[in-house]
Symmetry: none
């Protein structure tokens, strides 16, 4: 792959505008009865018409056979090698609930749990304690003070929370305290590298203090911590591509992923209609827009084939409003497939289209897995679509003399 | 490419079972008269029906335009990067005749040859001396004793033999003694690296002793040695993939390649029917089976188009018996193409199918080069099919949170 820093000097800032519409979990698989995928089943006249005058293909998010999480799925679309740049679980959990994460911060995914009188785990999830009960416990833990570091605890859902440590010289190389089974004591958070000694000490202090504060609680009287993570050191998206990028996303996770790339986050509403309103209202202020559509993925994860079809149809309705803005490049991409028949992310290549003035004669019949497999782009790493966008919008000079 | 060690932690051992059927030299080219390839010509109703409910594609064994030998062809199918893991000629020759090769052993391919009174080569192949004549000479050389190393000589065919050195601290970095032309003396086996000094000395002793033992023989009175090779240090297939793998192959070469990956070799008969019997009899004992079919390649190498068609038809007959076992994943792959019109291995991408519960709606019309080119998998590196197998059998977790 081309290194982002390598192409930096070949990119020019121009007035042309790029829209990257990411339909989360876009790709699917045929329904066993109809042998048609969600996209093939859906009534999506606008996307189908667009595919007929676009360069189409299939993107491979990470590698053949590898199903990606949301983190690597989006980093790849932004042009970051997903095997090189890793967002750890704690950091992604923090981004997912909209917590501000700075370079150097360390985040962990926390569970409330239950231990017996001898300190042995009796329930790793404290009876899946409800958010109403766990949120006040988070408030209590949030008050823990440890010299030299800022400690914050944020409720997620049910028994889950995020612990964020902020300060100088912290490290993510800390052992997980969750032994992943019951009947044993939580493990000490030892350092996995010499530079993590102080962070490990801080974590041990936090755990001890948490145990004291929760000792009288039912059912959650202890915490487990895992997925220690700092943000990866990503090249700045705007600087590398000479763009002034903005992100429009209803869900915090995707705003978080865009903020890691240092895109400007524009506040928006919870519907895709609201997101397109935001796009229109800010059209003059940026030359790159990442706009995220979540509902298709959610339906796919639920195993709801008809629901996913419907969510794709609801996306389709908004395509004309985006086209009215006359972007120089409009890409419709997915971070991964979420076939309803699997009810999970999958490894399948994802339909992709890129529309520009140059792609009018390149189209395929429709926007779906089978048609895109025969598109002019073929199968490409997701990591390359930013290069296509820059080229099609006249921003990327030829390579070499 | 994803590093095998990198995905190790994402793989779970599950009860699901994977069968990798390798039809050696599977791919072909159209016959000039009919414009149909061997697979397109063959009556293979079972493979064609299977392709209709499988994910199909074409695998590239090593790289576009590169025709692989059996070694890299199979290593790629097993998921080992064939440019990184090399099985040298001497080692492959040893595996090909079923010689036990341990890590650290050094093997060379030997020729009996003829030298004149001045020690200059007059025939590099000793008149292509027949096996009946060369085998007793091998026995004589096998008795050579060199302190600190075990020396074994095995007949191959005609003028060819294998020399195996076993002992501590041996190195493959030894010069070849074959000057590749006549009228000159065999070259001394000098060390190519400092650590090979002792091995080179051992080889020189062996050559001197062989010259003495053969000096009165006609026509073979000397030996040439080349292709010094040790086994590459392959990650253990079963450990990396969390599988309990077995290999079923009639020919020693393929058992040898599987043993290099540390698969368990199950003894079997010389026909594919016997191999499938072995598969059935051992079904409960393993969760991964590599089963090898040789005859199509042999016919291709002979330039026998009709013969290759027939061999493919004979393979097809056994497909239902494999399907009866209800493997969770059945792959039909080739290590390379062997087009009969070329009478050799070739660089062409090779038809591939993967059948699982998830691939019912993804099929193509038939199992051949043209149909598979339009399959849902597209063109993929052969090295990735293990990832597909693991994903389709529910053993590979998603990458990244």
């Amino acid at each position: 792959m081309i290194d982002l820093e390598q192409i930096h000097d070949s990119i020019a800032s121009t007035p042309s505008k790029i829209v990257m519409l990411v339909a989360d979990g876009l790709g699917g698989l045929p329904h066993p009865d109809t042998r048609k995928s969600e996209l093939e089943t859906a009534h999506i006249p606008n996307l189908n018409a667009l595919a007929q005058r676009s360069a189409c293909g299939l993107t491979t998010p990470v590698e053949v056979g590898i199903a990606p999480g949301s983190g690597p799925g989006h980093l790849a679309l932004f042009g970051y090698n997903p095997l090189r740049y890793i967002i750890g679980r704690g950091a992604l959990e923090a981004l997912g609930i909209g917590i501000d994460l700075l370079p150097g911060d360390v985040a962990a995914r926390g569970n409330f749990c239950t231990v017996d009188d001898e300190g042995l785990l009796t329930d790793r999830r404290a009876g899946r304690i409800a958010t109403e009960l766990s949120a006040p416990l988070c408030e209590r833990l949030d008050r823990i003070e440890i010299p030299g570091v800022q400690v914050d605890v944020f409720p997620v859902q049910d028994y889950r929370f995020v612990l964020r440590l902020r300060g100088e010289g912290l490290s993510e190389a800390v052992e997980e305290t969750d032994p992943q089974r019951e009947g044993v004591a939580p493990r000490p958070a030892g350092p996995l590298a010499p530079e993590a000694a102080r962070t490990a000490e801080i974590v041990q202090q936090f755990v001890a203090e948490a145990g004291r504060l929760l000792s009288e609680e039912q059912p959650a009287n202890m915490v487990l911590l895992r997925g220690w993570a700092q943000l990866p050191n990503l090249p700045d998206f705007g600087r590398v591509y000479h763009l002034n990028p903005a992100a429009i996303a209803a869900y915090p996770m995707y705003r978080g992923l865009a903020s890691v790339a240092n895109m400007q986050i524009i506040p928006t509403g919870m519907t895709f209609g609201a997101e397109v309103d935001t796009l229109q209202a800010n059209w003059d202020k940026h030359d790159f827009f990442f706009i995220h559509y979540k509902p298709a993925d959610a339906a796919g994860e639920d195993g709801d084939f008809d629901g996913k079809v419907k969510r794709l149809e609801e996306l389709d309705v908004h395509i004309p409003r985006i086209l009215e803005l006359q972007p120089d490049v409009l890409m419709v991409a997915g971070d991964h497939a979420t076939p309803a028949i699997m009810a999970s992310h999958s490894w399948h290549p994802v339909p992709f289209l890129l529309h520009s003035k140059l792609t009018l004669g390149e189209g395929v019949d429709g926007f779906n897995e089978r048609a895109c497999a025969h598109g002019s782009l073929g199968r490409i790493p997701a990591e390359t679509i930013m290069l296509l966008a820059l080229s099609h919008s006249g921003k990327l000079a030829k390579y070499g003399p």
